[in-house]
Structures are given as C-alpha cells and as structure tokens.
Amino acid sequence: MRSFADVHLGDTIGPVEHTFTTEGVRAFCTLWGQTGESRFTSEEVARREGLPGPIVPGIMSMAVLSRLLTDWADGGSLRLLDVIFRQPVPHHQPLRLVGTVTDLRPEGGQGVVEVDVFLERADGERLVTGKALLAVPLDAG
C-alpha cells in the first residue's frame, strides 16, 4: 500500500519495459470491436495510410500507462489519465513506460499525486505524453 507520506516531488515511477506484439494488438482490437484489417493490424493498410507499419491503438497505450500507475499506487486509485498521442506507437519495439511525480496535495481526506507519464522509445523519444492524477491514502497505517 503506497501512502502519501512516502511520495515526494520528483520521484520517478518505473521505468517499465514494454513491447506491444501484433498478436496482442489483434486480441485488443477484437475485444474493441475493430474487426477486419486496419492500420492497427495490417502492414498493407498502415502503409497505404502513410504509416511506417501497423500501430498500437491509442487506448491500448493508455491501458498500459494506467497499469504502470495503479501498480505503483498499490491500492490507490486513478482519478485522471489525460494523454496526447505525439507519434504512432509501433509493434515489436522495446518501449519504456515512465512517470515523474510533479505535484502533491491533500484533498478530501486523501493524498492526490499528480504525475507526468510517458511512453517512450529506448532512445528517449516520447511517443505518448500525459498527465495523471492518483489518489492514495494519507497514511498507510
């Protein structure tokens, strides 16, 4: 259980390595109701749309960033995840999920932790950038 007292401005969350696979993206798309070939699953469709290859749906990147945050909060809850898709997220490339604590405030009997979150390539180039709010207990006891 993460408590507010343990969190400090500038703390780093992660980094956690993550690679999206075409099989994983296909499974996600099926669940999402995106059946048939698309920029997410087909090399050919992606190239026709001017992309270098099939990409990861934005909401799948969000789900993975959410996991980074709730795993770290360990019992805390996600209040907001607000992201900007800066560049297409490719399949089969080692990526990094990372966060930085940028603000802290007690609010309504809980601690609110504000975090910058990034999904970035191994060379540091940021593909998805965002801001998140997490609520954690003021005292873990």
Binding site: A27, G33, G58, I59, M60, V64, R67, L81, D82, I84
Partner: protein
C-alpha cells in the same frame, strides 16, 4: 482574418444520447489479458469481493472501449484528407463493475484549427459521460481527433 473551419455549430455543447453498453466479466478478463493487467481487483472476482466490492471491477480505462461505438453525427462540412486520434482523457468517477449497464451521453466540446508537422489541421473535441443503471456518473472521457485538411 483567422482561418476557421466550417462545422455544424448547432452541435456545440448539446448532450446527445450515444448508446448503452454492458460490462461483462468476460470482457474485463479479455481486456486484462490483452494489456497485461494483473491487478487482482480486475482479474480475481473472489479477491475483489474480499476487498469489499460486489464483484470484479473494470480497469480505469475500460470505458475507452465503448467510444468508437458511440453514435455521433459528422461535425466538419469540409473534405478531410486523414483523421488521427490526437489525445484522450479518461476520468474514472466511481467503480464500474461486471454486470453494469452504462448509458453514454456525448457532447461536442470544441472545434479549432492549428498547424503542425502534417500541415493545417482541425481539432474536434468530444466529451462523453457514462452513467450506470443506478443513475450514477461513473466515468468521463474526452477525446480529441485531428483532421488533416
């Protein structure tokens, strides 16, 4: 004179009923498998019950899945070369449980133009609220789409 994009202004701020969605246990488990989610609140019904919940919870970004199925009118009245997802914000307000039925209401928040690496673009911003069968607002999702003009 500012470059403005032609769009249906009567839609701005109007609440539009946009569909009803059922949250199933199978759907939650499949979502968790697809994104590698292992938090037992979302994967282990018994564990969730022991934490005081009636059943399995949906992960925080789960309502995102319903967005592409919303019934929404066309906004722009100009030709568009390509559409891309520019950004999204999900704001979980209350727990969403397996078995919940969520009603979506969507509103056009904003339409504006700017320029970027891909030329002149129109940005279309929608906000959707999801309400459960008990009338409680459980999540808000704001999406921003970029249309290359």
């Amino acid at each position: 004179m500012a470059t403005q994009v032609e769009f249906n202004r009567s839609l701005l701020g109007q609440p539009l009923p946009a569909g009803t969605f059922t949250v199933s246990k199978e759907g939650i488990l499949a979502f968790c498998r697809a994104v590698g989610e292992t938090n037992p609140l979302y994967t282990d019904e018994e564990w969730a019950r022991r934490q005081g919940h009636p059943t399995l919870l949906a992960p925080p970004t789960y309502p995102n899945l319903f967005i592409r199925h919303l019934g929404r009118p066309e906004v722009l009245s100009v030709p568009v070369r390509q559409r891309m997802h520019a950004g999204q914000a999900v704001e979980p307000l209350r727990p969403i449980y397996a078995g919940d039925t969520l009603s979506a209401t969507t509103r056009l928040k904003d339409v504006y133009t700017k320029t970027g690496r891909t030329g002149t673009m129109a940005f279309i911003v929608w906000e959707t609220t999801f309400t459960n069968q008990r009338g409680e607002e459980v999540a808000r999702v704001r999406e921003s789409f970029m249309a290359r003009l």
